[in-house]
């Protein structure tokens, strides 16, 4: 991955920074320039809740080359306590025992490696709360 492309997402991946629309209060992750709800253009930076519940998930058994060494791994959509939803891996679990509705917490983890000579890429993964 090109380092500039990785670098500019760090506030979101490391610190869960989102944009809260000053006009309607809608929270958007990642931040946007235009609020899709009210078309507002002013935002304040807020940090997302790191706790939530699993809305749906799958176990990826066939991945792209970049992730093939990690299979099988669970990926799900987590609804955080502030209502924002994110797609994330669910780590440290027996993938066959996961259930919709389980409470989870986001933690900081390594996500992928950019080949042998590239950068290590970090971000959030969910673990059972």
């Amino acid at each position: 991955m090109i380092t500039a492309r990785y670098h500019r997402e760090i506030p979101q991946r490391y610190r869960l920074e989102a944009g809260k629309c000053v006009k309607c209060g809608g929270v958007h992750f990642p931040p946007r320039r235009i609020c899709p709800k009210c078309k507002g253009k002013a935002f304040e930076t807020v940090r997302l809740s790191d706790e939530g519940r699993l809305v749906t998930f799958t176990v990826v058994r066939v991945a792209s080359d970049k992730f093939s060494k990690q299979t099988p791994f669970a990926v799900g959509i987590v609804e955080l306590n502030d209502g924002v939803r994110v797609t994330t891996q669910i780590a440290d679990v027996e993938v066959d025992k996961l259930e919709v509705g389980q409470k989870v917490k986001l933690v900081f983890r390594r996500i992928q490696e950019d080949g042998k000579a590239g950068i290590l890429c970090y971000g959030y993964k969910a673990i059972l709360a």
Binding site: V60, V75, T87
Partner: protein, 383 residues
Amino acid sequence: MRDVAVIGTGMTKFGELWGRSIKDIFVEAAQNAIEDAGVDHIDSLYVGSMSPGLFVGQEHLGAVLADYLGVNPIPATRVESACASGGAAFRQAFLEVASGASDIVLAGGVEKMTDGADVTDVLATAADQEYEVYHGITFPGLYAMIAKAHMHQYGTTREQMAAVAVKNHRNGAKNPNAQFRSEVTLEQVIGSTMVADPLRLLDCSPVSDGAAAVVVASLDVAKKLNKGFAKVIASAQSSDTIALHNRESLTTLKSVVNAAQKAYKMANIKPTDVNLVEVHDCFTIAEIVVSEDLGFFEKGKGGEAVVKGLTAIECGRIPINTSGGLKAKGHPVGATGIAQIIELYEQLTAKAGPRQAKNARIGMAQNMGGSGASCVIHILEAQ
């Protein structure tokens, strides 16, 4: 806007066409469509293709294909809307003729997926690269999450999803252009390799090469040619959030609902007026969800409808994917939306042979991109 008709079609067989290039398969399909239409020229061409740059290292596809088709200097443009690229290309051709800017336009679609690219990675570019794909999700994975949510909310079952694959393979077995001309059993689907729980290999459309093309023309031109044609009575397109996690519902594809509403309004018909439909069954669960979102079945009843046979060719209710769908016919992504139009044309002009549905007067094609971030719907009527 003036009336527009489909006046000719051509397509390659779909499959693993290792000996043939993207240029070669597109030109074959386009040439056949032009000859079938019986026209001596085209005014412009649109080609739908999702990712020739990543699949075969070739962009600027409009120019490449116009050159090899020998139609320079007409305008030639590639249209991209992920797996809905073909449908979007057809829509551009429709709008160009409907507006009066051109009389005869070729709409094609092509994808060459078996040249060695990491197909899972290329297809994933249709999702949010930084906030979905970054975390390792794949396209089977995204639809698996829709499947899991649909099962959780409505009680849709493993067997109901498998029944979609069984039906579509049964139809595909009757289609000479299909990639898979073999039937499969419920047990084979349920016993196939797990790809992304709960979706298995036989829930997934295959990796395919293929090209398809149609000629669209003003109704005046179509009538003068004095041969079979089908009138385009609706063209609609809608968009939704790129990331699945940002949708209000994981079990309803809002782009499909919205495009369908617009299409029904434009054609001035109701879902019950439609005699057959080609839907975008990239995964078995997609056919179930879409059949509900198009208004053919109550929400949550799409799976049950397949098991009851309500979507089979011989059912009389609403035959879905008489061509074999993406599942059995194959899914060279950019070509898919055009191949759907070709199936409607064959059905509406009573040329579908053993796949022919009874009373085929009005047919719908639903083509979508990504996990439903874009949807293109067309409705055609027999003349």
